[in-house]
Every structure is written in C-alpha cells, then in structure tokens.
C-alpha cells in the first residue's frame, strides 16, 4: 500500500466546480482558412464534484461529454465560464508548470492507442515518473512494482509489451500510469466501453477501491447508464452540448424527469428476454443537433415525442424539480410525460 501525497478529503472540501463552461472551436474554410462559423461543443455546462466522489457524465457521441472532460484538464480551449480545481482556478493551476497534470489525469477508452507498442509496461510507467521527476533512477523500478500491485497486476507484467496484454490488463496499465503522478482528480473517459462485459466489473471495482483507499475524485464519462450507476454518486446527463438533467444517482434512476434520460434508460439492454420484449421504449430517432447551428429552443426537440411549438422556440432552462435535482424540460410536469417516464422505470429501478 502506498502512502499518497494528498491527504484524504474531508467532508466539505471543495472538489471540482464547473461553472457555465463553454468550449467553442472555430470552423475555418476556403483557401485562406478564414473563420466561417463556430462549433459550440460545450455550451454552458455547470456541475460540482465534491472531493472524493464520482460524478457520472452520460450522453451519446456529440453530446459534448468528452470535450467537457478534456476542458477540465486544459486539453480543450475554455471559451467561457470557469473551472475550479480543489479551490484553485484552472488558470492558476495551469500557470504553475506541471501543476495541472500532477493534479488531474485522464484515462481513455482505448488504452492500446495510448500505450507505445514498442515500450514495455515497466518502461512506460517509469517514463512518467522520470518526466515528472518523481523518483530517482534506482527508486523507479520499485515504484513501478508498487504501481502495478496497486492496480492488481503481477510484477512480471513490467516486462510485457502492450500487445501481450488483454484489454482489461491494458486498461489496468493505463490506470497505473495515471496514478503514477498521484493525482487527486481523474477523468475516466469510456474506460470500460471497449471491454467484454464479463471483465468490465473488474475495472469498475478496481476504480471504486482506489477511490476509497486514496480519496480520489472522478469524472466518469460514458454513454451507458447501466455502467455509470455502479460508480457514481451523482449523474449529469448531457445532450447537444448542454446539461439535460442532473440528480443524485438513486433519484435519477427512480424518478427521471427528462425525456432524454428516459431514452437512455430504455436503451440499456436487460438480461431478461420477457422484460426486454415487453418494455416501453423511447427512441432517439434523429442525430444530435449540429453544434455549429443548433436549432432554436430545446436541443432534444427533434427526437422528443412530447415536443411542442414552445420547445421549438424557447430553450428550456435547467430548473429544480426537487432538492438537488435539476432538469431542462418545458413539459416534465405534464401528466402524460410523468406517466411515460414512470412506466419506463418500472422493472428498471428497485
């Protein structure tokens, strides 16, 4: 067991605060690459991650969830709003050389693409230690062993190359590499999506254990509501660059309010043929809105069975439905909407 650089978080410690975050990319075209438009990948997103907890950020491709995660780490341009990381603004952290990557780390979906195929696992890990000046030459080998042990890999794995590892083992190496700098915050971007269901749980359980042992703070990004439930205390649902709904985990699963949350819930396959045949579904029929030219009104309007003219003209604000539970829908109190969402959760949440 390693001793961590950072003390365990106390209740009330400020974790990650995202306030009105916007990420925009210019569109350039023509011979002279003039800016001809703007892609609003993330359009005013706010949420908090209390220190030592996990927020699940859920949405499909094009929802802006990955860009949000990258913006927190300074890997995407923040064009508006603010990010505070453990009480400091992201800009302050970024100004101190090495401070941002030593506090915040990222683990990707495809560890194979992020591991150098010619480097052994041990070399990859000790490189990180060397780059950040965290261990002297002699100490590195020992630290590599500690890191491998921490993610449940046997010591001899240090001599293996990525091709010799299974998908789950590679993901463990990627996690060990992120942990090498002893960060306090880790963005986990679709970390189990590429793995067989049978071993997804190994990685999720490992992440939960690491969090308990070291007081880590996680942003868990995924398209799968089924997975996120096991690791998150709070869930943020994004669509088209905006937050659609956010609530504590159990509340989101038992009383979802946004039709898009309903769509995500009804898409999770149930390992029960009868329930699967009988269930009511809400399909997300159309593609997400073009982030360069979002329609006026609600971003989800084209896929929403309850959409009215109001939804096509006026953007619904994110408003409270209960304490600590916000949703952005004009019609979430309408009886037929409530009825549809209640049936959706029958047999789904205990």
């Amino acid at each position: 067991m390693t001793t961590t650089r950072n003390a365990m978080p106390q209740a009330g410690d400020e974790g990650i605060v995202v306030d009105g975050l916007k990420v925009q990319f210019p569109i350039r075209s023509g011979v002279f690459r003039r800016q001809t438009g703007i892609v609003r990948a993330v359009d005013g997103v706010s949420f908090d991650i209390p220190a030592g907890t996990t927020v699940g950020l859920v949405g499909e491709s094009g929802s802006g969830k990955t860009t949000t995660g990258r913006a927190l780490l300074g890997l995407a341009p923040v064009s508006g709003g603010g990010v505070r990381i453990f009480g400091e603004s992201q800009a302050e952290l970024a100004a101190r050389p090495g401070a941002l990557p030593r506090t915040c780390q990222l683990v990707f979906q495809d560890p194979f693409a992020s591991l150098n195929p010619r480097m052994t696992v041990g070399a990859a890990l000790s490189e990180v230690l060397a780059v950040h000046g965290l261990a002297g030459r002699e100490e590195r080998a020992r630290r590599v062993q500690t890191l491998l042990d921490g993610v449940g890999l046997r010591p001899e794995m240090a001599d293996r190359h990525p091709v010799e590892l299974s998908g789950g083992q590679r993901q463990r190496v990627a996690i060990a590499r992120a942990l090498a700098v002893e960060p306090r915050f880790i963005v986990l971007d679709e970390v189990v999506s590429a793995l067989d269901v049978s071993i997804q749980g190994q990685i999720l359980n490992l992440l939960i254990d690491l969090q308990r042992e070291r007081g880590l703070t996680y942003l868990f990004i995924t398209h799968d509501l089924g997975v996120v439930r096991y690791v998150s205390q709070r869930i943020v649902v994004m669509y088209g660059g905006k937050v659609m709904e956010t609530a504590p985990r159990d509340r989101l699963f038992s009383v979802p309010h946004h039709p898009y949350t309903h769509a995500l819930l009804s898409a999770v396959p149930l390992p029960d043929p009868k329930a699967e045949r009988a269930r009511a579904r809400l399909d997300v029929r159309s593609e997400p809105p073009d982030p360069a030219a979002p329609p006026p009104g609600c971003r989800f309007q084209r896929s929403c069975p309850f959409a009215t003219d109001l939804c096509r003209s006026e953007e619904p604000p994110l408003r409270p439905v209960a304490a600590d539970h916000l949703a952005a829908c004009h019609h979430m109190e309408r009886p037929e909407v409530r009825q549809a969402l209640t049936t959706a959760t029958q047999g789904v949440s205990a």
């Binding site: 075209s29 023509g30 011979v31 690459r33």
Partner: protein, 314 residues
C-alpha cells in the same frame, strides 16, 4: 477539391522563394570575384568597377536578390560560359531530354513496380513473394552507374543489340530514339522499381487484411476485383508518396546515368558545368531541378487527396 488544390498551390509560393534565395546565396558564397571570370585576371580596376556597377554588384544583398528575382521572372537566368548561350536556352533544350528520360523511367518503375508488388502480395509467403524480396534487395544494392556499365557491356558491346550513347544515330526517327532510350531508362528505373514494388507489396498486404476487404469478400466480390478496385486504390496513397520521392531521386540520378550514356540532358550539362565552374549554369540547373521537385510534390499531394477523400476535409 478545387479549394484544396488552390490552397496547396499557394503553399508552394514560400518554398519556391526559398529555393531562389538558396541559389542566389550560392553565387554569393562561392569564392572568387565574378569580374575575374568575366574580364580575365589582367583587367584594370576601373573596368572591374564599371562592370560591378553594370551588374549591380555594388548594391546591397537585398537589392541584388530582388534584381535576381526580377531577372528570373523575365526568364533571364544569366549567361553560360561553357556553352556561350543564355542559361535558359541551354536548360530548355536539356530539360526536355531529361524529362523524357525521367518520365520514361518513372513510368517503367511505377508500372513494373506496382505490378510486381501486387503479384507478390496476393500470395504472401509464396515462392514468387520470396523471389520478389530477393529481386528488390538485388536491385537496391546495385549502384546505377555500375548497372549502366554492365548493361552497356552486355547489350551494347557483347550482344551488339542496342546503342549505348547519345539520343540518336543515323537518320534518327522514333524507333531509333526508343532504342537509345532503352538502356538509360532501365538503368535509371531499377532502383525506383525496387522501392515501389516493396511499398506496393507491404501497403497492399495491410489493406488486403482489412475489414472492408472482408466485407467485399463476404458479399461475393471476386478476388481480382477486390485487388484491383478495393485494395489497390486504398494502397495507392503510400505508393504515390514513394513514387513522388523517387521522381526526386530520378532527377538527381539522371546526372550519373546521363553521364554514363552521354544523354544530352540537364544532368550531363550539370556535370559539365561543375567541371568548368560554370556558376550561372549550375545555379540555373539547381533552380530548375528544385522547381521540378516542388511541382512533383504538389502533384503527389493532389493525387493523394484524390485517392483519400478524408484529406480534402483537413
């Protein structure tokens, strides 16, 4: 596609300016006083001064460079001492001969290289595949002047089948020209042929194992169609890059080959210019070869975009 071509064309402008700057500086760093060469060592100081003023050699470097650019733009590359003619005229005659040889060589190298690489790739590990690997190694390890001499010995002196020098003999005519071209073309093409065959093979092997080839097979598409219409087009970008690079090598390789076969091209002219320190001709030759290189790279990028639709978006 049009925007892409135009944008890529604009990108060549700074490169071309860089090349002219380099050839201009070449004349500045070469030791010796140009008036020595033009007037002879016995000329009076007054005559030298007059010539300097006339040539603008007393002005600043920047002004001289701008004059140089202006002259180039008007097609004035200076005067060749060796040939006692304007450089541009010498080069224009020679360029056509070199281009003829280079295009014949690249056409031969590409056609034979792609064919051989494809032929080997459809049966990886087979006898023909291993044969190709040996052949590639053999061609790659032979210097072109040596291969040229061997060919001259065999076909020219021993078998007396082909002429070994110059571009024409007797009454000339297209057949006579082709006979003269054959040995230098083969000599020049050999190395590139090997490189193109090797790249075609490896690039095609990768593509043949791809998912979309499996998709085409799963829909009953025949092997020949798969190789020609699915695999080869996707293997082409890598092959085209190699062909483009080989074009550059061919232009420089032409110096040796043209010398061996007395082929009256830029290479032979450069060889002569270097032996006689004919600086304006060397400058002009370098400039023309460099511009040809830029033009080839431009063509390669455009072709690349044609075969890879994703490039146009980038």
């Amino acid at each position: 596609m049009f925007t892409f071509v135009l944008r890529r064309a604009l990108q060549t402008v700074p490169v071309v300016l860089g090349v002219t700057l380099a050839t201009f500086l070449l004349s500045q760093i070469i030791p010796g006083d140009p008036t020595d060469v033009l007037l002879g060592p016995g000329a009076s100081d007054e005559a030298r001064e007059r010539l300097r003023t006339a040539l603008g050699l007393d002005r600043s470097m920047v002004v001289q460079y701008l004059y140089y650019l202006g002259n180039l733009a008007q097609g004035d590359f200076g005067q060749s001492f060796t040939f006692a003619r304007p450089v541009i005229e010498v080069l224009a005659d020679r360029m056509a001969n070199t281009a003829l040889l280079a295009f014949a060589a690249i056409a031969l190298a590409s056609a034979a290289g792609i064919a051989a690489g494809t032929w080997a790739a459809v049966r990886p590990g087979s006898l023909r595949d291993r044969g190709l690997t040996v052949g590639v190694l053999f061609l790659n390890s032979m210097p072109s002047f040596w291969l040229g001499l061997v060919l001259i010995l065999i076909f020219g002196l021993h078998l007396r089948l082909l002429p070994v020098s110059g571009m024409s003999s007797g009454d000339g005519g297209p057949l006579n020209l082709m006979a003269h071209m054959l040995l230098p073309t083969v000599t020049l093409a050999a190395w590139s042929l090997a490189a193109i065959a090797r790249m075609t093979r490896s690039s095609l092997l990768e593509v043949i194992n791809s998912d979309y080839v499996r998709t085409a097979r799963s829909r009953g598409v025949g092997e020949a169609r798969i190789v020609l219409f699915h695999a080869l087009p996707n293997a082409m970008p890598a092959v085209i890059t190699v062909i483009g690079m080989q074009m550059g090598f061919l232009l420089s390789g032409a110096v040796l080959t043209e010398t061996v076969f007395s082929w009256p091209g830029i290479g032979l002219a450069m060889y002569q210019a270097i032996s006689t320190r004919d600086i304006p001709l060397i400058q002009g030759g370098i400039l023309v070869l460099a511009l040809a290189f830029v033009a080839i790279n431009f063509a390669v990028d455009v072709l690349y975009a044609y075969f890879n639709p994703k490039i146009k978006l980038a």
